[in-house]
C-alpha cells in the first residue's frame, strides 16, 4: 500500500505549458516521485476521473490546478478536485487570473461561436451549426459540456488555498514550492501567492530607470530598443512595473518588454489600472504653457492613439481576474 502523500495536477482551459513547466524541473521530477504518489495528471498519467471519484474526500494532499474555467466540464473537475484535495493550488496564470483564455471575456459567447464556426474562412458550415450541450440524433441524445458565457478564474468558482502565477510558472519557482512541501515547511497563510516575489519585475530588471518621460509609444516591431535604458522610457510598453517579480526579468533582459504574465504585484488589485497610473504620469505631451485644457487633452489623445489594443495589452493575462472582469455583455 502506497503511503506517500498524493499529488495531483489537472488542466482545465489551458495549453499544456504548465505541465511542461513542471517536467522542466528535470531530474528533480524523480524527487517528486520519491516523495509523492503522483496520482492524477491527464497530460502525463493514465488515471481517469473515475479513479479520483473513488478517493475519499481530502485524500489528495496537494493538487496543482492549471487552466481557467471555460466549460461545464472545467467547473465539474474544479469542484471534484476541491473536494478530494486538502490543498488546492491555482497553478499558472490561467487558473490564477484567467490568462489568454480570459481575454475572450471581451466578447460574448454568441460572437465567439459566430467567428469560430460560421465566419471562419476555413470552415464550411452552410447550416450554421454551432456546438450545443444536447443534440438529438436517430440513436438518441448526444451531450457535451456546456460552454460558459464567461471565462472565470479558479478562485471565482471554488475556494483556492494558494496561487502560483506565471505563464507558465518558472520551473525554478515550481521546484521551490515543491521543495518546501517535501521538507514539510509550515504552510503560509491561506491565499498566499507562492513562487513569486513581493515587488515588481523592475526589481529584477538590470536596466537604467532614471529617464522617466515618454512622448510616443512603439509596438515591438517598430523599434529595436537600446539595451541599457528602461524600456518604458524608450516608448515600449513594458508591463514590468505593474507585474510581480519572480521570473528573473527574463523578457526585458533579452530586449523584449514584459507582457505581465506574473500578474499584479503585492498590494495591486488590478494590473491594467496600475499600468494606466504608471503611464499616465510618464506621458510628456511637449510644451504645456499657454495651451488650453482641450488642446492638452487632444495632444495626449494623439500620443495614446499609438497603442492599438489597451485591454489586450494591459490585461493580457489578468482580464478574467481583474476588477471589471471583461466587457459588459
Amino acid at each position: 500500500m502506497n503511503t506517500k502523500p498524493k499529488l495531483g495536477m489537472y488542466w482545465a482551459a489551458s495549453c499544456g505549458g504548465c505541465e511542461v513547466a513542471l517536467v522542466n524541473i528535470n531530474e528533480k521530477i524523480l524527487d517528486v516521485a520519491a516523495n509523492f504518489d503522483f496520482c492524477f495528471c491527464p497530460c502525463l498519467l493514465d488515471t481517469k476521473k473515475k479513479d479520483i471519484e473513488e478517493f475519499a474526500d481530502g485524500e489528495i494532499a496537494v493538487t496543482f490546478f492549471n487552466g481557467a474555467i471555460r466549460t461545464e466540464e472545467n467547473e465539474e473537475m474544479a469542484r471534484l478536485l476541491r473536494r478530494k484535495s486538502q490543498v488546492l493550488i491555482a497553478f499558472g496564470s490561467c487558473s490564477y487570473e484567467g490568462c489568454i483564455p480570459g481575454l475572450s471575456n471581451m466578447h460574448t459567447m454568441a460572437a465567439h461561436f459566430k467567428s469560430i464556426y460560421i465566419d471562419n474562412p476555413t470552415v464550411d458550415n452552410p447550416n450554421g451549426i454551432v456546438p450545443k450541450p444536447q443534440t438529438q440524433v436517430p440513436e438518441g441524445t448526444l451531450t457535451i459540456p456546456a460552454f460558459y458565457e464567461r471565462v472565470r478564474t479558479l478562485s471565482q468558482v471554488v475556494e483556492v488555498d494558494y496561487s502560483i502565477p506565471g505563464c507558465p510558472p518558472e520551473s525554478g519557482q515550481v521546484w521551490h514550492v515543491i521543495e518546501e512541501l517535501i521538507k514539510g515547511a509550515p504552510l503560509p497563510p491561506k491565499g498566499s501567492i507562492l513562487g513569486a516575489g513581493s515587488s515588481t519585475v523592475c526589481r529584477e530588471c538590470p536596466r537604467d530607470k532614471t529617464h522617466r518621460k515618454v512622448s510616443r509609444f512603439y509596438r515591438t516591431y517598430e523599434i529595436i530598443p537600446a539595451p541599457e535604458p528602461c524600456l518604458i522610457s524608450q516608448g515600449v510598453i513594458c508591463m514590468g512595473i505593474a507585474t510581480a517579480d519572480g521570473c528573473g526579468a527574463l523578457c526585458p533582459k533579452v530586449n523584449m518588454p514584459c507582457i505581465g504574465c506574473y500578474g499584479p504585484p503585492e498590494g495591486v488589485l488590478d494590473q491594467g489600472a496600475k499600468m494606466i497610473a504608471v503611464l499616465g504620469s510618464m506621458i510628456d505631451a511637449g510644451e504645456r504653457k499657454g495651451l488650453s485644457e482641450d488642446e492638452m487633452a487632444r495632444r495626449v489623445d494623439l500620443i495614446l492613439d499609438s497603442i492599438p489594443d489597451y485591454s489586450g495589452t494591459f490585461y493580457k493575462f489578468s482580464l478574467a481576474g481583474s476588477i471589471l472582469g471583461g466587457r459588459r455583455p
Partner: protein
C-alpha cells in the same frame, strides 16, 4: 429610485473624487453660496487629483457606482505642480479601457473646478446626474450567477 409625478426616476449613485485644494474648495464655495445641487454625488476628498489611482475608479464601479467624477485644479494651478496633468493623462487612457469594456465615457467624467468655481461645480453636478440618469443604471460586471453563465441555461 424616487417618484416624480408618479413616474419612477432612476437615482444614480455617483462617486466624486475632489482635489483638496481647488475642487473641494469649489464645492465648499457652492455650499457657501447656498446653491442647491442633486444629492447623488458622494464626495471623496483627496489631497490631489493625481492621487486618484484608476483602480479607485474601477473599484467604485464594482462597488455600485453608476458614474465617477474626478475634479481637479485648472492646468497650471496644481498645488503639487503637475498632479492634475497626471490625472488628466490617466483619465484619457482610462477612457480607452472603459470604452473597450463597454462602459460609456460619460460614466467617467474629468473636469477642472477651481476654488472660485462654485457655479461651475453645481453645473457639473447637474449635468453628471442628468447624463447618468439618461444612461440608466450600470450593469454590474463581476457578479456572475452560475445560471446566467451557462450555455442554454
Amino acid at each position: 429610485m424616487s417618484e416624480d409625478d408618479g413616474r419612477v426616476v432612476f437615482e444614480p449613485k455617483i462617486v466624486g473624487f475632489l482635489c483638496n485644494w481647488c475642487s473641494y474648495a469649489g464645492a465648499d464655495k457652492a455650499g457657501g453660496l447656498q446653491r442647491s445641487y442633486p444629492p447623488n454625488v458622494n464626495i471623496i476628498r483627496v489631497m490631489c487629483s493625481g492621487r486618484v489611482d484608476p483602480q479607485f475608479v474601477l473599484k467604485a464601479y464594482s462597488a455600485g457606482a453608476d458614474g465617477v467624477l474626478i475634479l481637479a485644479c485648472h492646468l497650471g494651478d496644481c498645488h503639487y505642480k503637475e498632479g492634475n496633468y497626471h490625472a488628466m493623462q490617466r483619465h484619457r487612457m482610462l477612457l480607452r479601457i472603459l470604452s473597450e469594456h463597454g462602459i460609456e465615457n460619460e460614466r467617467c467624467r474629468f473636469d477642472y473646478v477651481s476654488a472660485a468655481d462654485g457655479d461651475k461645480f453645481v453645473k457639473i453636478m447637474n449635468e453628471m446626474v442628468y447624463t447618468i440618469r439618461e444612461l440608466g443604471p450600470m450593469d454590474r460586471l463581476n457578479c456572475w450567477s452560475d445560471n446566467k453563465l451557462k450555455q442554454g441555461g
